[in-house]
């Protein structure tokens, strides 16, 4: 991306940061519940919608491999039975936590950039 577009896109990230983080947390929470065997169908459905949105959106911010991360999350929530989820969910949740930190740093850089 050229510098102008990067600044514009980072401005959108800052504007919608709370919404994006809320979506990520709902996916993370659903994964935890899946691994615990306590995932409600309505919670799963909502998390699937959010994971699909995140997979289709976050790559534009060029932070980590968001598309792969949330496509994997969507697949696990959709297809993986609870007795197998325990093996896959911890690694996925670890990647989500890493991504949240990267997202926070990117949004912080955007705010710093606006101040300078």
């Amino acid at each position: 991306m050229d510098q102008k577009t990067t600044l514009l896109v980072r401005g959108v990230l800052e504007q919608h940061y709370d919404t994006i983080v809320s979506r990520i947390r709902s996916v993370d929470s659903a994964l935890r519940l899946l691994a615990d065997g306590a995932l409600d169908p309505a919670v799963r459905e909502n998390a699937l919608v959010e994971a699909h949105r995140l997979a289709g959106t976050l790559a534009i911010f060029e932070i980590g491999d968001a598309e792969a991360l949330f496509t994997s999350s969507e697949q696990v929530l959709q297809e993986v039975p609870q007795d197998e989820a325990g093996a896959r969910v911890p690694a996925l949740r670890g990647q989500i936590q890493t991504f949240l930190r990267q997202l926070s740093e990117a949004a912080g850089q955007s705010r710093d950039g606006e101040r300078t």
């Binding site: 991306m1 102008k4 577009t5 514009l8 896109v9 401005g11 959108v12 504007q15 919608h16 919404t19 994006i20 699909h52 949105r53 997979a55 289709g56 959106t57 976050l58 790559a59 534009i60 968001a66 598309e67």
Partner: protein, 144 residues
């Protein structure tokens, strides 16, 4: 480096209006930001019914439709809009593949763009469509 495609300078009243039907506020905001920076005016619609009404009542240069909307399937919406107007329709989807592109083409969609897209891909596609150099739906970029 290839030069970026651009539109001729226009007064604000002449800015091409683009209807964007997508229920995701983040996507709406991204598209709005990218296209306004290029001199377009964006008309947002979060629901298919709003998009259909705006397509009938607003002077538009292009309609962008997400495949998934809360109240209507994007293909169905494209079909209904195509029955009303002749301007280009660009379909967005996170599940873009050959099959969907074929269905989109049959529904009257002019071109398709897979999600996630890059700002340059959106910009180039929109300028190509509004400039009349649209590729048919089956040959558009589905793998950003």
């Amino acid at each position: 480096m290839r030069p970026r495609p651009t539109l001729p300078a226009r007064s604000r009243g002449d800015m091409p209006r683009i209807l964007v039907a997508d229920d995701d506020v983040v996507v709406q905001s991204l598209i709005d930001t990218i296209l306004v920076a290029e001199g377009f005016r964006v008309v947002p619609a979060a629901f298919g019914r709003d998009a259909l009404r705006l397509a009938q009542t607003s002077p538009l240069a292009l309609v962008i439709v997400d495949q998934r909307l809360p109240d209507v399937d994007g293909l169905d919406l494209a079909r209904r809009i195509r029955a009303l107007v002749s301007h280009p329709i660009l379909m967005l989807s996170a599940q873009m593949d050959e099959s969907l592109m074929r269905l989109a083409h049959e529904a009257g969609v002019t071109a398709c763009l897979g999600k996630p897209f890059r700002p340059a891909q959106l910009r180039q596609q929109v300028i190509a469509l509004i400039g009349g150099a649209a590729a048919p739906a089956g040959s558009s970029d589905a793998t950003p």
